[in-house]
């Protein structure tokens, strides 16, 4: 055991900043990674985890700050340089060649070459020994494509630790693994630790932190919330079980929930606009819910809980089994065209990828989903188009120098308003809004919330999918809580709603009466 005062720091991170155009991805991040520990990093989407890993492994350059690896300045320019100094990353995507044998995969990229020809006798012995020690069920002659995902992962790990690796960064290594395989992976991690390798472990499955972690750093909005001993969190007075401990982590990840007052929907009518029964996909398990006219329904859950998947199903992007009723009529929504025809429109999660036509003007963007409104005898009528655009620019208080401005040149909030205008012009009864205010500033966020409330008052049915709890609690009349592809419960919003209870539920806690 180390002395607390003289802890053996392998990697020291001091005042790390990373500035991207428009956003500060990492803001003064400092913490130490101790030798021979499993150090977990957790946080919601966009908290800066990925940026962090990329900088640690040489894939990205920092803007400011200091990294000390074994006491020396650590400034890798490339992934290879980082590896040469003993830091290797295993990314989510498996980096093995399915069609080659285990032996060939192990020696890949390190074959002894002469004049470009591979010399057969590359030194396998170290690799084989490492492989045996991690998982002795894998044979060198096996074709890698026939192995399980966990076993393929082991081959990657073997390759990594055979290059004098001191620190292994694992980005969600269990994301695609079954329960059994996850157990196996944990055993491998235990063995790696026994070999003296330090592991930086990133996962969205918070339970794993308590199974294998020694320390955990929580990131939020590019800042370190806290770095704590895992045992200390587990043993603290308020935690009676691992799920209590998880809840504590969730609280740290999400921060204090500052609540604006929820204004109850004033125009919710008995007409059921949309009903889903037992929706199933690879990710979703028996998701059922209903949406009424004039209602704002919220879907909330942590990353990977299945919110976006629900939106994808309702908009005809993902195949599903189960039933969907639109205004009482059973419909198979097998394509986006069918969803639109049924009166469902989606405002997609990533506006730049799925929402805007950046090279086109605001005027050209807005009618895109219902061109009929700007046509005269089948020809685009510029007058109608201008009028339509001006109407939305005014109605949405879109800040722009004019309707001919290219959408790419607008700010995030105004781009989002263009996307919303484009979708509203479709005049659907049901609006799906996936992260409607992601990446927009506070002012624009409030404006977009007001627009959503106004639409509900006008009788639309709106589903908001959001990973921001304040947004959900402020906006939605009812809240569907999701956990691992399941609907945990549906809560009625109101004065007595309890954000702590919501957090407990989305972290996997039990539904109490």
């Amino acid at each position: 055991m180390m002395d607390a005062g003289k802890a053996d720091v392998l990697m020291g991170i001091k005042g790390l900043h990373k500035q991207f155009p428009g956003t500060l991805a990492l803001d003064d991040v400092s913490f130490d990674i101790l030798r021979n520990t499993v150090h977990c990093i957790v946080g919601e989407n966009g908290c800066g985890k990925s940026t962090m890993i990329k900088i640690l492994t040489g894939a990205l350059e920092r803007t400011k700050g200091e990294l000390l690896f074994e006491g020396r300045a650590f400034e890798p320019k490339t992934i290879r340089e980082a590896m040469a100094q003993g830091v290797t990353a295993l990314y989510q995507e498996l980096n093995v060649v399915d069609d080659l044998s285990v032996a060939e995969n192990l020696t890949l990229g390190r074959e002894k070459q002469r004049f470009g020809f591979i010399q057969k006798d590359a030194d396998l012995s170290v690799l084989v020994e490492n492989l045996r020690s991690l998982d002795d069920s894998i044979r060198l002659t096996d074709r890698v494509g026939d192995l399980s995902v966990a076993q393929r992962r082991v081959i990657e790990i073997t390759r990594a630790i055979s290059t004098d690796c001191k620190m292994l960064v694992m980005d969600e290594p269990t994301a695609a693994l079954s329960e059994d395989e996850t157990r196996r992976m944990f055993k491998v991690i235990g063995k790696l630790k026994a070999k003296g390798i330090t592991i930086v472990y990133i996962s969205h499955k918070l339970g794993e932190v308590f199974e294998i972690g020694d320390k955990v750093t929580v990131l939020r909005d590019g800042k370190v919330v806290e770095t704590r001993e895992v045992a200390e969190i587990r043993n603290s007075s308020s935690c009676n079980s691992d799920s209590d401990a998880c809840l504590e982590l969730v609280r740290m990840m999400l921060g204090k929930v500052v609540l604006e007052e929820y204004i109850p929907g004033s125009n919710i009518q008995a007409l059921k606009l949309l009903e889903a029964r037992n929706l199933k996909t690879g990710k979703l398990r028996d998701v059922s819910f209903e949406l009424y006219k004039g209602e704002i329904l919220g879907f909330y859950g942590l990353v990977g809980a299945g919110k976006t998947e629900v939106a994808q199903v309702l908009y005809g992007i993902d195949p599903y089994s189960g039933e969907i009723f639109v205004k009482g009529q059973s419909l198979k929504i097998s394509s986006t065209a069918k969803a639109l025809k049924a009166g469902i429109t989606m405002i997609p999660e990533e506006r730049r990828i799925g929402g805007i036509f950046g090279q086109l003007s605001i005027r050209a963007n807005i009618p895109m989903m219902r061109m009929e409104k700007v046509l005269t005898n089948g020809i685009i009528n510029r007058g109608k188009e201008n009028a339509l655009a001006d109407g939305y620019i005014k109605g949405m208080s879109l800040a722009t120098s004019g309707r001919e401005k290219k959408v790419a040149q607008l700010s995030g909030g105004n781009q989002q308003k263009v996307v919303i205008s484009k979708c509203l012009n479709r005049e659907s009864d049901v609006l799906l809004m996936d992260e409607p205010t992601r990446g927009v500033d506070v002012g624009a966020k409030q404006e977009i919330h007001d627009i959503i409330r106004k639409l509900a008052r006008e009788g639309k049915g709106i589903i908001v999918f959001s990973s921001e709890l304040p947004e959900i609690m402020q906006l939605c009349d009812r809240i569907v809580l999701m956990y691992e592809g399941e609907v945990r419960t549906v809560l009625q919003n109101g004065k007595d709603i309890d954000s702590d209870r919501i957090m407990a539920l989305v972290a996997g806690g039990e539904v109490s009466a």
Binding site: Y315, I317, T336, A337, L340, M346, P348, I353, G354, G355, I356, F357, G358, Q359, L360, A364, M368, M369, M371, L375, G378, I379, I380, R382, G383, K422, R426
Partner: protein, 320 residues
Amino acid sequence: MANSFSAIQIDRQKLVLLSILAAIVVAMSFLSPKFLQLSNFQNILLQLAPLIIIASAANLLMITGNFDLSIGSVLAFSAIMHAYMSKLGLPIGLSIALCCMMAVLWGISNGIMVGYLNVNPVIATMGTMYAARGFAYLIARWDGGANISAGLPSDFSDFGRTNLFGVLPIIIVFMLVTVAIFIFIEKKTVLGRFSFAIGGNRKASVLSGIKVPQMTIVLYSLVGLLAGFCGTVQVSRVGSGFPNIAEGMEFDVVVAIVLGGTSMLGGSGSTAGMIIGALIVGTAANGLNLLKVPYFYQTITKGLLLIVAVFADQTIRRRG
């Protein structure tokens, strides 16, 4: 109408292109006394007309981010088919109509492969390029030779050699009409608008409910139609059908379009720009011809022009 002149709005990029064109014209008029003659300009236009006609549609296709390598082959297929059917005694008009329809089928097949089956456009249209060219040779063989020149009806050449009002060659009339139609499509129709949308952001187009595969098929069909039509005009003008006609024409089309400022990635471009691009290529080639520069130097020049144009396009995009 407030915006009736929008079709000829000139932006900076087009201004640069026009200056290049002007520079070539000025330089050539000093270098060669024959250059500034009216007959020479008519020559240039006659050379360029089929290219500009087909590129009008191919430009819109490239704005969606796709392109078509089978243009020259479909043109040849249609040309030789027209000669073959006319020789068999089919009325000229009927034969032209049938050839255009067959060319549309080539386009539809390209469109289905690219739009529905998600075959890479280079591969799909390269397949068509070989297949259509092969058919062109095959049809000539059915006729019993390497080409179809003897035995064509006496009125076979009338169509392609018609001069409107006695002065305007029919192909130039077709060119003007096609260009006008495509400027209209580009600016005033849903097809034009959606082409920009698809090329600019394919995923957003799909999520906006735009029927991307159908649009792709329509555009490939238009390219096929115009290539087929030009084939019938060309074979009629020449008066005999050669299966190797218009070999490599697809690349000339690409050069004109890319020079004109349409990005290979899609999302931006204009018919007007394409025309200037075509004029630059045509005028430069004509000038080099007049100066008796050997053909291979001309090819080298064309290659350099293309590379410089694409490089400039990328640089502008990266900065923009």
